[in-house]
């Protein structure tokens, strides 16, 4: 998890990658590819497209490691946001081409039960914390977050689907994320 343990290691790895260190890249990939791939797969479903996007994302990491700015966030966040953006771009271009929407995600993150693949970057307890925090969100807030983050819908699209005013959708997204964030912070503090 970004804030638990691997933060300093990945930061050092990025610096080495920027200097062209292939071993550092290999290690960085091993640490974070499962998280990125899990996210891309949730967005895209199609395993082949997901593998292509994953390769592009890490290719960008190699090419653009110098642009990483620690003041903007953790290396994990830098990578995950790239993975998300790429996956959503791909999803939207597929939608435009096919004019068919993928089946909406009906299962929630909290109840997903494809056996999780062990990721060395994520401590199991942390994962539990996130799942719990997500499960504690009010359903409408969780739904908006999932529709945007995993289904790649814009806020206007979400508003239309849910038949809610755009302003409501905006507020829900913010409140949901704020609540998720503070729950995670609080639980981490009480856990230590």
């Amino acid at each position: 998890m970004s804030s638990a343990g691997t933060g300093s290691e990945t930061g050092a790895l990025i610096t080495r990658i920027a200097a062209g260190d292939r071993d550092a890249f290999s290690r960085f990939y091993d640490l974070l590819a499962p998280t990125a791939f899990g996210l891309i797969r949730r967005v895209l479903r199609d395993p082949e497209a997901a593998a292509e996007v994953l390769q592009e994302v890490f290719w960008q990491v190699w090419r653009e490691a110098r642009q990483y700015d620690p003041e903007r966030g953790s290396p994990e966040a830098w990578l995950v946001m790239r993975a998300k953006t790429r996956a959503i771009d791909r999803l939207r271009s597929v939608r435009r081409r096919d004019r068919t929407f993928v089946a909406p995600v009906d299962e929630s993150v909290a109840t997903r039960d494809d056996g999780p693949v062990e990721n060395p970057a994520v401590v199991a307890e942390d994962r539990q914390l996130v799942q719990t925090a997500l499960a504690q969100l009010p359903e409408p807030q969780r739904r908006v977050i999932e529709m945007a983050f995993f289904e790649g819908l814009t806020q206007s699209e979400i508003a239309i689907r849910l038949r809610e005013p755009l302003g409501t959708v905006k507020t829900r997204a913010r409140l949901g994320l704020e609540r998720l964030r503070s729950t995670l912070r609080g639980e981490r503090m009480s856990a230590t």
Partner: protein, 257 residues
């Protein structure tokens, strides 16, 4: 922009669901180095990163293999020299870049305002393209049938009930056929014309039903008929709408190949 609004924008931006104009607005704010916007975005992105980490999945090994091969061939961008440039070094680039960025932002703002229009047009064009493709495919089938030397062309002549009717059948045993008739009486209610293929001494096989328009023209696209190769004759009878397994009504057209 007040704090809440910045929060709304940052949340949507981190989630990837920020629409055109709002997105340009927020990105412009980020570029000014707005501390509140940067902090909000950083927080939300961190939270979403934690959320993404809940469902890791092992990627196919081929991805890493391909990447390791690729990176051997190409060093990280803009790294001609081995010595890393000091991160905060004051170079001419920031000045050049900020000029380019200002131009870029202007382009983005204009770009977003027209992009939704184009998005819609793209959708409409994609639709049109699909229709044209379908039309093209059916035309190509017809042309392929006409060009193939193995295609039989059978002229059908009107029978007693419609002496002036005529028809033509272009038939290819593997590709199917195209049938066009003229001069037939308008189809009576509850009835339909049915085309039959007759091969040797076998019983006639239905090749489909069709109606004629007010000018007496009817046409039918025929799929290849299972078990029917060389056809000796085609005939048209008038049958109950929907057709029958074997001819029962009066014959209107007949042609032998």
């Amino acid at each position: 922009m007040n704090r809440e609004e910045i929060g709304d924008l940052a949340a949507a931006y981190a989630l990837g669901g920020l629409d055109g104009a709002d997105r340009a607005r927020f990105e412009a704010l980020l570029r000014t180095g707005d501390a509140e916007a940067l902090a909000a975005l950083r927080d939300f992105e961190g939270t979403l990163t934690d959320l993404a980490a809940v469902t890791p999945e092992a990627p196919p090994p081929a991805v890493k293999a391909a990447l390791m091969e690729r990176i051997v061939a190409a060093p990280p961008a803009a790294r001609a020299g081995a010595r890393p440039r000091a991160r905060r070094g004051r170079a001419i680039w920031p000045a050049v870049l900020s000029g380019a960025m200002a131009a870029g932002i202007a382009a983005i703002v204009v770009g977003w305002s027209v992009s939704s229009t184009y998005e819609k047009r793209l959708d409409a064009l994609a639709n049109d393209a699909e229709q044209l493709k379908a039309e093209l495919r059916s035309q190509q089938t017809v042309i392929a049938i006409l060009r193939d030397p193995a295609t039989q062309v059978v002229a059908l002549a009107g029978q007693a009930s419609a002496p002036t009717a005529r028809a033509r059948m272009m038939w290819h045993e593997k590709a199917g056929g195209v049938f066009v008739a003229t001069g037939l009486p308008a189809t009576p209610a509850g009835k339909a014309y049915q085309l039959w293929a007759i091969a040797g001494s076998n019983a006639p096989v239905s090749a489909g039903v069709f109606n004629v328009d007010a000018s007496g023209v009817g046409s039918l696209s025929v799929r290849p008929l299972p078990g029917v190769s060389t056809v000796n004759a085609f005939a048209v009878t008038l049958e109950p709408a929907g057709g029958l397994p074997a001819p029962s009504g009066e014959m209107y057209l007949l042609g032998k190949s």
